[in-house]
């Protein structure tokens, strides 16, 4: 079962320079909320920003990671 720390590490490793804070919303290891700040998001639509993060987990999202709520932004704001 994934932990919030594990998700944070994986996001930050997969998106170099990203800062992630991840919360396990229920304590059950399947509903998470992540806030991710990265300059990689610069110029991307929200959809593409979120896809970058979802891509880190592939089919785990919707599987063992039942829900991953996201908020993405760039270091300078949105």
């Amino acid at each position: 079962m994934p932990t919030a720390d594990e998700l944070k590490t994986r996001i930050e490793q997969a998106i170099p320079g990203a800062q992630a804070s991840v919360e396990d919303l229920t304590g059950g290891g399947d509903h998470f909320r992540a806030e991710v700040v990265s300059d990689r998001f610069d110029g991307l639509s929200r959809i593409d920003q979120h896809k970058l993060v979802y891509d880190v987990f592939g089919e785990e999202v919707g599987g063992p990671i039942h829900a991953l709520s996201l908020k993405t932004s760039t270091p300078g704001g949105n």
């Binding site: 919303l25 229920t26 929200r46 959809i47 979802y54 089919e59 919707g62 829900a67 709520s69 908020k71």
Partner: protein
């Protein structure tokens, strides 16, 4: 129905309906808190939209995610393009972008999508716990 038929049906639905929501359950009876919030945002903008319950057959979700490259439900499409799931739709609702995109007026005094309708089997995990008082301590 074969998988190919399901995919063709979904592609048709996205093409034919300018505002198309794929959700768990129906707008009247959402089966998931995220689907509830997303349909509530559309309801409060008063737009007409088509909604499809993805739960009856697991292949609906598989094929939909293959089309959209988006892993979770709900998914909102406007004019054939994926707008987002619950997070993005809620964010866009609150900022007024969703009203702009759909060409409607933002309701003046409702900063948050009102949540109403039947309770699903699952609420958004961020919502406050149900009114259970802890009297044990």
């Amino acid at each position: 129905m074969t998988n190919a038929e399901i995919r063709a049906f979904l592609e048709e639905a996205i093409k034919d309906n300018s505002v198309m929501l794929f959700m768990k359950g129906t707008p009247d009876q959402p089966a998931c808190g995220f689907s509830l919030r997303t349909s509530a945002a559309l309801n409060s903008l008063g737009v007409k939209y088509a909604a499809l319950d993805i739960l009856p057959d697991p292949r609906i979700r598989q094929e939909l995610s293959a089309i959209s490259e988006w892993p979770t439900i709900p998914q909102l499409f406007v004019d054939g393009k994926l707008v987002g799931g619950c997070d993005i739709v809620t964010e866009m609702y609150e900022s007024g972008e969703l009203a702009d995109l759909l060409g409607v007026e933002q309701p003046a005094d409702e900063p948050e999508a009102p949540v109403h309708g039947g309770a699903g089997d699952e609420q958004p995990a961020s919502s406050p716990p149900l009114g259970i008082e802890n009297r044990l301590s």
